[in-house]
Amino acid sequence: MTLTPTVTLILNGAPTTLHAESGRRLSDVLREDAGQRDVKVGCDAGDCGACTILLNDAPVCACLTPVIQAEGARIVTARGLGEPALSRLQEAFLRHGAAQCGICTPGMLAAAAALLAAAPTPTRAEVETALAGVLCRCTGYQKIVDAVVDAANPAPAPPPPGRGSAVGQPVERIDGRAKVDGTECFGADAWPEGALTVRAVRSPHHAAGFAFGDLDVWRASHPGVVAVFTAADIPGRNCFGVIPQLADQPALAEGAARFRGEAVAIVAGRHGAMLALDLDDFPVAWTPTEPLLSPEAALADGAALLHEGRPGNILVQGRVRTGDPEAGMALAAITMTASFRTSSVEHAYIEPEAGAAWMNGDVLTIAACTQAPAMDREGVAAILALPEARVRIIPTATGGGFGSKLDISLQPLIGLVALKTGQPCRMVYTRRESMASTTKRHPAAMTATIGADGAGRILAMTFAGDFDTGPYASWGPTVANRVPVHASGPHKTPHYLAEARAVHTNGPISGAFRGFGVPQAAILQEMLYDRMANALGQDRLEFRKLNALRDGETTVCGQALEAVGILDCLEALTPRWRAALAVAEAFNSLGGPIRRGVGVASCWYGCGNTSLANPSTIRVGLTQAGQLILHQGATDIGQGSNTVIAQILADAIGLPLADVRIVGPDTALTPDAGKTSASRQTFVSGKAALLAGRALRQAILRQSNMGESATLSLIDGCVVLADGARVQAIDLGLLPADRHGYALSAEETYDPPTLPLDADGQGKPYAVYGYGAQIAEVEVDQELGTVKVRRVTAAHDVGRAINPLLAEGQIQGGVAQGLGLALMEEYLAGRTENLHDYLIPTIGDMPEIETILIEKPDPEGPLGAKGLGEHVLIPTAPAIFNAIRHATGAEMTIAPALPHRVRAAIVKARQDTP
């Protein structure tokens, strides 16, 4: 007996026989052969736990289980936990908002179900142990733990919000059910029958010339390979970029690769053959060249240029200047200077890039995970020389994005295969490929000086930062322009000069990552504020209050602000601040190697594009059958825009949220609601939804003789209007279909009012800002250098909390990513292309997080709402660094604060202390 061709097992209660070729893992067979796509594959290496299933009641990673070992086993996946009704655990996940993007949810559910079988009412610590092997990048784990603890005795579901009262309610995410019952369809989960599988050949070098051998011979000698494509096969402009005039990135490199992981060729073929294919024998000859791996190297005299026309390898330089920084600094009673470096940070969403492409007539259709369907369409159309009307982008559910899925990745590659072969195809990046080839947070090297008067009022600040943008532009210009605008923090700074350069290197491409450089800059500014307060003998929180921007004051860009919530946030933190300081002092008085510390930091963040047009369009219609349809082009990557926009719309029309049906996003069906980036969807698309909802309400009222005070209901194909005793029904079936096919519809566009920035960065870069401040309480083991964050208290001014449950989820998830930035995340090309060498916060790393939502309504935002998605991680890292110094006296000069670095800083601080 050498081979067992099949295994028979019990899959979610049903006897099932599956192929069991040696070498295949259970995850692969369950997904490909059994159609069990709720078994997610995030790393294929046992690191992420997304593929966790129950094997004879025990949670195991299906990707580390040979299918052959499942003979006779009982297998339960997420889908098997609750059919037909959702299990109480799944209901609890939904109610608590424990699923954001939902990609880790099936694995979390399986691991939690095993725990609950053994311990029906677990403690939080037991939950943390049981779920320790499953990574989540969105939630910060808090709500997952809440849900598991609550599963045995769930709190009753709140009643659904009634007409006109959806906004402000902590309603469940309206697209949440599919995320907890295992049916959600991500990029890797659906493809047309017979789709070819696509793989990419990528550069193993940071920089190298390359030449292909005989591709036809290679293809012919590899059965199952259908096609090989290189840059020579690209029919259009082999060049893309999010900022058209700076577009510089090829879909497939031509002649030279500029970073490790850059694609140079793609291979398409039968699925099984492609999986078995060893691409090491692909005929490509590399000629490695000396890479420029740091801005210092790239800026050095005589350094090779990565791109013609970008002297000094400088992509873009951003600058803001106000007042007279030199004179202001000279007036200061006290000045402080510091430098800080941050590392490359990987987005580490649990869903690697994935999608499928096919021709529908002459329309190239691409279903893939993304944050920006309209930009995908534009980019793919240009690369493939198709008119945009012949490219349709259907975003699948997106298993986390955080900025990286704004850039196109595999879309032109699978588009090329579908276009050239006429056959459908699919592609899933490996974890390594995802990490190597997609964008990162910019590593920054920054120096700043801040001066204050004797009372602690900031007089002047100078800031200079180099941001390693990698070989291609991506969002480097956005970072270089955003940082100088924000580097003052939300503080009155009369004299100011900030310059930021995006510098090309052969490191990984740096692009958009939650905050666009602002989180890096905030670390340095907040560190200097702590130094300054300490030197002046002032309370560190009071020092920030003293300098917080007030309504009517102007920013460093000369913009007069309204609805400035930073002081409110700091005030809200004050009781906790005092209590935390007292607790830390009492603890530290006992002595021992463990010391506690408390830190605070602020944030502000302008929502939407910087001084650029940034419109969203929302369409809403009532069908002749009486259904309310929201055409929602904003991609919900887990942050909750489907729900938030629907809440705003429902109230604007005056119909219950439960009436709203969502269509899209789909470039063929939904108007462009812009990209999911820059904390703009609640603000910009939300405002468009508010306007569209109001317009539809007016259209309805015009069909009646009722006034604004009428209440609306959808009953049996009619809109029923009531006002006191008066009732009127409009039979939608009797109205003619309009150009969108609706009985009544409305479409509205909103573009935030901004003004250009002049050469000194003066103008009105954003229409709306959000504000926040956080306290971090940490414990430092001085012998080891380890830092445990015990508690974070986060106060954020969201203007109006459209959905407090989702807002809280954004804050908790942002804190987790901020904690990762501060303490563990450091992407090193070629060395950390996996989720065991690249560290992200696990469930056990997370502190208790208390959220305080401040609502200081913005006059421009919809119903007063401000953006939140990026603000939330900005204060976390600086608060942690400030807490480390408070605990130990050690000031970090580099992020992340890895244990050996903290230990070294502690030793140095002791040597420096006389």
Binding site: R25, G46, D47, V60, P66, A132, V134, L784, M824
Partner: protein
Amino acid sequence: MYAFTYHKAESVADAAAKVASADDGVLMAGGMTLLPTMKQRLAQPSDVVDLGGVASLAGISVTAETVSIGAMTTHDAVANSAEVKQAIPALASLASSIGDPMVRNRGTIGGSIANNDPAADYPGAVLGLGATVVTDKRSIPGDDFFQGMFETALEPGEIIQRIDFPIPKKAAYVKFPNPASRYAIVGVMAAETASGVRVAVTGAGPCAFRETAMETALAGNFSPSALDGVTVSPDGLNADIHASAVYRAHLIGVMAKRAVAACG
């Protein structure tokens, strides 16, 4: 992953025969290391012989002097064994600190020590408690078992059947884990045994090793302060993105003191 032939072993003798008859056969226990290694094409055996069906290899038995753990016993079984917790709590605690629940449900003690990953936890216990590795051919003292990075005293095709741990007077294992994998960046097992004090370090060097200078210092005074004057050289220690050799040397000192303190 390269193609290979899969075999399910019926017994230890059957497994030995199947490995012997293969061109390049390997034994698979829980597969937690072998499968990812093969997936990355870092290993390409012609044949894989799965020990998962050999019932005689799994199980725990405890006498007054010895805790015997079958090679195919999972980490989870050791962590949750009331008998192990009673006899050698440090061993149960060590097992509970390995990986995550999914790894503990599949990974085995035999697989761990046969693989001899420099950062694995169990080698620290085998060495630190003075255990004996019993194979289908012989008994190998723990002190002789670990010979280098991924190298052991096992001969080709030799199959571990069980590990016999003499019950110490007291013992504790303290580790500084890799935050993701929970492998030991440095782990120290400190024990007072019938044959003397043992201090074994894992994670820091090419394979687990004993810190004899610490053992000597502790022999007369089994307390953390006895280690105050003992310095650890970084020479030959591992260095990687998670910890330099100098930092690992520092950690050995701290973890050893904490292990001694935890012995009570």
